[in-house]
């Protein structure tokens, strides 16, 4: 399994990246950590003519913690964010989900934004972006724009990014007081893509549940505060509304049942954090 041929350019400025994408469109791919792109190249699921390496741009290697949001640059590796001492305090849901991303040996190279760009429906980081109401910052020669996560993931490995745009950073809100969060995942082995993953967020007046691995993209529902049978009914309705996938790992009914059970468990765990 060897990749097909491509040119390689190590970008020295953001303008280099924008120019390469503007001139080559879909024939060019940005490479950051390469932990999902390299397997796709080796399996020849992707055959770009040009790879633009963005890991030597210091301006993309930054984690900026503002009062309301954490901005994570496109060059920030998953292991770097996980090792950031402020992460658990500023955004505990992200801190809970990151250890589920691949293995330590891939988190050391893989980036947060790379996972968002790849948009695998089972991946944890896109799920957390949706659960938290994060935004994706895109830039090109033409313009800059921010897209909410709810609009960014448009289907199986497809996103709202135009061919000439790069993801420059993503932002997630800083955790609010009086909000409890929890992350749960079910897979055959730790480090595999999730069969189903759930991210729950609970406040005094609302419950939010986001699930990955079920449909062709992460999905989220918000409920008022519900309990007992009413909460089970709401989760059941959510599970039925999901266009659940069927593959060799699990059937669609099995995935929906996991949403009911794990969704409930995640919400209860989030409640315990709140208490």
């Amino acid at each position: 399994m060897k990749p097909s041929r491509f040119d390689y350019q190590r970008a020295e400025t953001l303008a280099d990246v924008h120019a390469a994408l503007a001139e080559n469109g879909n024939d060019a791919r940005v490479i950051a950590g390469g932990q999902t792109l390299l397997p796709m190249l080796s399996m020849r699921l992707a055959r770009p003519k040009l790879l633009v390496d963005i890991m030597h741009l210091p301006e993309l290697r930054k984690i900026d913690a503002g009062r309301n949001a954490i901005r994570i640059g496109a060059g920030v590796r998953q292991a770097e964010l996980l090792a950031w001492p402020e992460l658990a305090r500023h955004q505990p849901l992200l801190a809970a989900a990151l250890p589920w991303v691949g293995h330590a040996q891939t988190r050391s190279r893989g980036t947060i934004c790379g996972s968002v760009a790849h948009a695998d429906p089972s991946a944890e980081i896109p799920l957390v972006m949706l659960a938290l109401g994060g935004t994706i910052e895109l830039s090109s020669r033409r313009k800059r724009r921010s897209v909410p996560a709810a609009e960014f993931f448009t289907g199986m490995m497809s996103t709202a990014r135009a061919p000439d745009e790069m993801i420059e950073a993503v932002s997630v809100p800083v955790a609010r007081a009086n909000t409890g969060t929890a992350f749960q995942e079910f897979g055959r082995r730790h480090g595999d893509f999730a069969i189903v993953a759930c991210a729950a967020s609970v406040s005094r007046d609302s419950i939010s549940i986001a699930v990955g691995g079920v449909a062709d993209r992460p999905e989220r529902r918000d409920f008022p505060v519900l309990d007992g049978g009413a909460l089970d009914d709401a989760l059941d309705a959510f599970a039925w509304q999901l266009d659940a996938r069927e593959d060799l790992h699990a059937t669609a009914p099995y995935r929906r049942e996991l949403v009911r059970r794990m969704g409930r468990a995640a919400i209860e765990e989030a409640r315990r954090c709140l208490a």
Binding site: K2, D7, E12, G34, Q35, S42
Partner: protein, 169 residues
Amino acid sequence: MPRLSADRRHRVRFTLNGRAVEADAEPRMLLTDFLRHELGQTGTHVGCEHGVCGACTIEIDGMPARACLTLAVQADGATIRTVEGLAPRPGRLSVLQEAFRRHHALQCGFCTAGILMSLDTYLRSHAAPSETDLREFLGGHLCRCTGYTPILAAALDAAKLLREAPVHA
């Protein structure tokens, strides 16, 4: 760096086990193949070639990483360690390697180089790992011979020895 063209070979330079090395690679050449075929360092093994099995794990800039998920051209300028760099001198094994031998932590040996490189990096920053920590960390490696139990025993033993006499892993 200018755009490197697909059908030419380009000079790649990095530090390998403390020594400056260089050779030529097409942009699409994986770091595994560069190490083995261009530099003749065949200690790094190639298993699944898509990041799942862990056999090709090496240390890049101080972190464990899959050589098969890295292009040789991406590694230009990096500091790399491979299994060839573990033994302190010829004829002598590192503390970790010695523990693997004592505990029969390998049979066919195909996965061993990758596991050694992962553990070598890990034990330097985690002096007293629990068995649970190690199981979690070794989740990134497949071994089809040992059932993992002797690997865990070797890793725990090596960690203990390194705590008592902190030499290089």
